[in-house]
């Protein structure tokens, strides 16, 4: 697809989501909110994982901090929710700078494991903080209807996607891509690799924290286990990779597709749903390891041979 066509298509999808409350059921609206928040998370993971090439398992920390920012502001200090969102973002960005500095010196698997540790550490710390309600969690005041949350999460996804679109065409983004492709060569060519990596980490902290804040405000309950959930981080990665990491629309597309698939499976065949979900992922990785975005680009050129080539090229 041509870029202009893609943007028209994206605008249609956004318009479609915006009108869901006027015709869809309450269940559909709630599914929409969930899918949009997951898409935002996959999209922000895309910045550090897809563009910079650092497979972060610490994004659920940003998400959790965003949630706790809102929860603490609302419950402990009776502040407006907007202040809570800002507090969450500030916490997440601080975290990204402080821990990004040491952690982003690691690469590949080492980076993944270190960030995985961060999630566990945060769960332990927050479980022992009075201000965060210890391991019992916090119950937030009930907020206005689902329509508002659908609009909020839709707006957030649009902003996040615009940020990614800017990254893909900017000097900053080319620096990130250069780091992903070869960090030593990037430094030799004048990319301030340390600064760029931390900025990318902080940028995905901003969007993940906002998503976490909106989600916590929406479900009105937050505890350490659900705030710093590693499996949520795994889902971000699966969705981004399924859609196509390092592309503008892929991660959001992957999130919608997988959210829909898992929702349908869960409603039809409850107990076996996760097994079938697993099968979908495995099949996707075998036949289209570079994601939906790559499939859309190359299927027309190669036809069914596209799948054959992928199996050949990525055979273990």
């Amino acid at each position: 697809m041509k870029p202009a066509l893609k943007f028209i298509f994206a605008a249609l999808v956004v318009g479609g989501f915006a009108t869901v409350p006027s015709w869809g059921s309450a269940v559909l609206v709630q599914f929409g909110i969930n899918a949009l928040i997951l898409a935002t998370l996959a999209q922000s993971w895309n910045i550090i994982g897809g563009y910079t090439g650092y497979p972060s398992f610490g994004n659920s920390v940003f998400y959790g901090l965003g949630g706790y920012g809102v929860a603490i502001a609302l419950v402990q200090y009776q502040l407006p929710s907007a202040v809570g969102l800002i507090l969450g973002v500030v916490l997440a960005v601080l975290f990204a700078f402080l821990l990004g500095l040491p952690v982003l010196r690691l690469r590949g698997h080492y980076f993944a494991i270190a960030t995985l540790g961060l999630t566990e550490v945060m769960t332990a710390i927050v479980s022992n903080l009075d201000i965060a309600g210890r391991n019992v969690g916090l119950i937030l005041p009930l907020a206005k209807g689902d329509t508002l949350f659908l609009e909020l999460s839709l707006a957030l996804l649009v902003v996040t996607t615009l940020a990614v679109a800017w990254i893909s065409r900017s000097r900053f983004g080319f620096g990130l891509i250069a780091i992903r492709e070869n960090e030593v060569a990037a430094a030799v060519m004048g990319v301030n690799t340390t600064l760029y990596k931390i900025l990318a980490f902080a940028l995905c902290a901003v969007f993940s924290a906002l998503a976490g804040g909106i989600h916590a405000y929406w479900i009105t309950y937050l505890d350490p286990g659900s705030a710093f959930d590693v499996s949520l981080n795994v889902r971000m990665i699966i969705m981004a990779v399924f859609g196509g990491p390092g592309t503008i629309f892929g991660p959001a597309l992957g999130a919608f597709a997988l959210a829909a698939i898992s929702e349908i499976l869960a409603s039809k065949i409850t107990s076996l749903a996760s097994i079938f979900f697993g099968v979908v992922i495995v099949v996707a990785i075998i036949f289209m390891p570079r994601g939906v975005a790559d499939l859309a680009q190359n299927f027309r050129r190669f036809g069914w041979r596209y799948f054959q080539e992928n199996i050949k090229a990525h055979r273990v």
Partner: protein
């Protein structure tokens, strides 16, 4: 004398191994210095110390009179030092054009900041090194000789004042070597000073204004190419010493 690069008593130790041992030399602006020596002599290490890929144990590196040996690699690139890698390091997933565009976007201070302009710039450099027919391909689809050309184009797009070339001719056939020599001479004519590491003796003789010979990390000779290549120590280092 106007020296663009001065290296003084430069030493690099990797744990027990003394890779570079108190090497001192200077490069005049707009000249080509050939860096030769047997395998393992420390040539690439010396280039890495100047480009900032490695940090020296002792000694100093002065670029345009200012010490740079404590600066990070990317800062040296912004000052105007570019290098190529012997083991080529392209950005494999990017197109040939975008590989070079990264050089134009970053590189020496004052480089272009707009992607469209950087790509235009990249196109010019790819034409300059004779790669214009492969612009749209992914870098990992290129064969050896073309990858060498790509390395050169990436470095040139950075608009350097000092260019460090680490074996850009290795693996090329005689015709291709002639082409690269022409390109390097053209680069020098644009006012860029160059350090060349090379094993192809004929090439380095015709290119270099001066030669510097490294052996076991030490400088064993320096001077005009003809003189240096007649030097007994140099011949011994390359061919082994004569029986008496």
């Amino acid at each position: 004398m106007d020296n663009i690069l001065e290296v003084r008593n430069l030493t690099k130790r990797f744990h027990g191994l003394l890779a570079i041992d108190r090497v001192t030399f200077a490069l005049e602006r707009n000249q080509i210095l050939g860096l030769i020596g047997p395998n393992g002599a420390g040539k690439t290490t010396l280039v890495s110390l100047v480009s900032g890929t490695l940090q020296p144990t002792e000694g100093s590196v002065l670029f345009e009179g200012k010490p740079i040996h404590r600066l990070a690699g990317f800062r040296r690139a912004l000052l105007g030092i570019a290098r190529t890698f012997q083991v080529m390091r392209p950005f494999p997933g990017l197109t040939v054009l975008d590989n070079v565009a990264v050089g134009a976007l970053f590189g020496a201070a004052g480089s272009t900041r707009q992607l469209a302009a950087a790509r235009e710039d990249a196109n010019r450099w790819l034409h300059f090194v004779g790669l214009d027919h492969r612009v749209r391909q992914r870098a990992d689809a290129l064969g050896g000789p073309d990858r060498k050309r790509l390395e050169l184009a990436k470095a040139l797009a950075m608009r350097p004042k000092l260019l460090l070339l680490d074996e850009v001719m290795a693996g090329l056939n005689p015709v291709e070597i002639e082409e690269v020599i022409t390109v390097i001479k053209k680069v020098r004519d644009q006012g860029i000073s160059i350090v060349v590491i090379e094993h192809v003796m004929k090439a380095i003789q015709s290119l270099s204004d001066r030669l510097l010979v490294l052996h076991h990390g030490e400088k064993i000779a320096e001077g005009k190419p003809q003189e240096v290549l007649r030097n007994d120590q140099v011949i011994a280092a390359y061919l082994g010493s004569k029986r008496r």
